[in-house]
């Protein structure tokens, strides 16, 4: 069989084989991703949430800061969602338009979640892969540093940062970024330890490939499956961190808002019969978290070439 193939290759028709279209890894992954209906649904839902965050404030009839004085004091009877007065999602307990506030909160929460998870993935994966690949004392030293950082209560550090440098989104991002990479670096290190014992890594080393290139070319892509799943789970937890900080009054400042603030406010008003104040922000929160989980699941399957 191989002899035949060789003869064929040596003939003129050889070139026709070379022009076979290149099936790239990413294209295959994309095809596989879209075959997964849950993941596709999640992506669509997330896309809609993003559209809502981008264009919601422009569609809203009210500004998220303005109080509708007609409704103030009478929220329970007249503040429910209605098309007539332009409060599509109703108003909050101060008579502010909930549609505009939810849209604005979605912006902040998504941004915190995605930026936080992104910093965590980039820093954590690189740190963990380097520690695992180099091994020995360096590994011990790097991981003990992670242990020390983990043993410090992160909320305490975050609150200190916000108090010292003032309340701003930038400090919030830096604070969340500083603590969120710790877990992921441990996961990445553990995976790297098993990957670096595989023969293809040894083969690359024997071939004379530099260690940094080995990490980037051989270790990183094989880490991605685990890291991506973890990152998609990290986005919701970042959103929850931010909610908690905002609850303490150190996160986003009024009148700006976020999902955490809105859900908290809604929950505290629950017993007064204004359930819409809880349900609208909660709906977006839940949809987003579910979308991320499904997308993460789909991505993991899609990026694993063995699953084809």
């Amino acid at each position: 069989m191989f002899k035949g193939a060789n003869l064929f290759l040596r003939s003129e028709k050889f070139l026709t084989f070379v022009s076979i279209p290149n099936r790239s890894l990413w294209r295959n992954a994309r095809d596989r991703f879209f075959q997964n209906s849950a993941a596709t649904g999640g992506l669509v839902a997330l896309f809609l949430v993003v559209l809502f965050a981008l264009f919601g404030p422009h569609i809203a009839a009210w500004n998220h800061e303005d109080i509708d004085w007609n409704l103030l004091g009478n929220v329970r009877e007249q503040g429910a969602p209605s098309w007539q007065n332009g409060h599509y999602f109703g108003v909050d307990e101060l008579g502010r338009d909930l549609f505009a506030r939810t849209a604005q909160g979605t912006r902040i929460s998504l941004m915190v979640g995605i930026v936080g998870a992104f910093i965590a993935v980039v820093v954590g994966t690189f740190y963990g892969a380097c520690a695992g690949y180099v091994g020995g004392r360096v590994d011990g030293l790097m991981m003990r540093l992670v242990d020390i950082l983990m043993s410090i209560p992160y909320m305490f550090v975050l609150i200190l940062l916000l108090v010292m440098f003032g309340r701003s989104m930038l400090v919030l991002f830096i604070g969340i970024g500083l603590i969120s990479w710790l877990d992921i670096s441990r996961i990445a290190r553990g995976q790297t330890l098993s990957i670096k014992k595989k023969e293809f890594v040894e083969a690359a080393a024997a071939m004379g490939v530099k260690p940094i290139i080995i990490i980037l070319r051989h270790i990183f892509p094989n880490l991605m499956g685990v890291v991506i799943v973890y990152a998609t789970l990290l986005v919701p937890s970042m959103i929850i961190y931010e909610s908690f900080i905002s609850f303490l009054g150190l996160g986003v400042q009024e009148p700006a808002t976020s999902w955490g603030v809105l859900i908290n406010d809604g929950a505290s008003q629950m017993s007064y019969g204004t359930l819409w104040q809880l349900l609208f922000p909660l709906f977006f929160f839940v949809v987003t978290i579910f979308s991320f989980v499904f997308i993460g699941d789909g991505l993991r399957d899609a990026l694993d070439p063995k699953d084809r």
């Binding site: 191989f2 193939a5 070379v18 890894l25 023969e199 293809f200 004379g208 290139i213």
Partner: protein, 330 residues
């Protein structure tokens, strides 16, 4: 023919931490390769045989530089590889390439066959143009008997034999001078094994390669090698031209190994002789005193417990590390 590779007294010692030991206790030393000297002429094939745990793979890894040597020198064409800086060492990898045991594990599952074969070119010839590299890859694919259309496939889409062909293509794309095959055919079934061995020997002839062929199966090694070296528990115990070693083994261990080759036709060979090898290979963490083989040797005597006998020449090309078999020969 000139000497290509000279290995002079190399030892590889690992520091092993025992489990459940106190952290302040010193790690025990594991001597995976002890004091081996062997040389390889250009264009020659050296077969290395021995049981599992005899240090064959460690020796191979020491030659390509994945494992650090503790003592001794590896001299390749007059350059001492073991004294080079990491940077020089990587550059020298162009000449010395290796094929691994498990074909599927040796290929990155996230790279296509084309990318895998391209990697050495990207590493050592970064200036080469993309289409030029592509030509080299296609030429290599054809040489090892793969199809040009396989270039965009992933390793898991191939059989073990095809993966091993791809691994050989990767090892040979830089036109190295020395190829080390570490159990390159052990994971393959018999018919595929024959194909790969034929491929290796024909490529060796075409490209003028020197080769170190490692296997635990003497029948395979004898087929491809010009010379054979036998290892046991990190020591070299016999070395010589492959036909002489197989037909007139001197060391009792080599005799036992040859005895254990299964006969293709069991009815033809007459009654099998008694098994010469008993028990398991001792732990390298706790090797026997004196001659490492004495615990399983049928001609072991009191004197064997004192020191490891050195490799003693018994003819121009043969060396044996057993004084009693040397006496027999003289």
């Amino acid at each position: 023919m000139t000497a290509g590779l000279q290995i002079e007294n190399i030892s590889v010692i690992f520091r092993v931490r025992r489990r459940h030991a106190w952290p302040w206790r010193p790690p025990s030393l594991l001597c995976a390769v002890s004091n081996i000297s062997v040389s390889l002429l250009e264009g020659e094939t050296l077969g290395i045989v021995g049981e599992s745990g005899s240090g064959k793979s460690t020796l191979a890894k020491a030659i390509v530089g994945i494992v650090r040597t503790s003592t001794g020198a590896i001299v390749w064409r007059g350059q001492n590889l073991s004294q080079m800086s990491a940077h020089e060492r990587r550059a020298s990898a162009k000449d010395v390439q290796m094929v691994f045991q498990d074909p599927l594990a040796a290929l990155n599952p996230r790279m296509t066959i084309g990318d895998i074969i391209e990697e050495p070119l990207r590493t050592h010839c970064p200036r080469m143009k993309r289409n030029e590299r592509q030509e080299h890859i296609l030429e290599m694919l054809e040489r090892v008997g793969l199809h040009a259309s396989h270039i965009n496939r992933y390793p898991h889409e191939f059989s073990g034999g095809q993966c091993q062909r791809a691994a050989i293509a990767r090892a040979l794309v830089l036109k190295p001078k020395l190829l080390i095959c570490d159990e390159a055919v052990s994971a393959l079934d018999v018919s595929v094994r024959a194909q790969i061995i034929n491929l290796l020997t024909s490529l060796q002839r075409e490209l003028g390669l020197s080769m170190i062929f490692i296997a635990h199966d003497l029948s395979v090694v004898q087929h491809v090698s010009d010379r054979i070296a036998v290892m046991y528990l990190g020591h070299l115990i016999e070395e010589g031209p492959s036909r002489e070693v197989v037909q007139e083994p001197r060391h009792p261990y080599t005799q036992a190994l040859i005895e254990s080759i299964p006969s293709p036709d069991p009815s033809a060979g007459g009654p099998r002789r008694q098994k010469l090898l008993r028990g398991e290979i001792p732990s390298p963490l706790n090797p026997p005193s004196g001659c490492v083989f004495r615990t399983r040797c049928i001609i072991a005597r009191q004197a064997c417990a004192h020191e490891m006998p050195p490799m003693t020449p018994i003819s121009d090309q043969r060396r044996v590390a057993c004084p009693y078999s040397v006496e027999d020969a003289l």
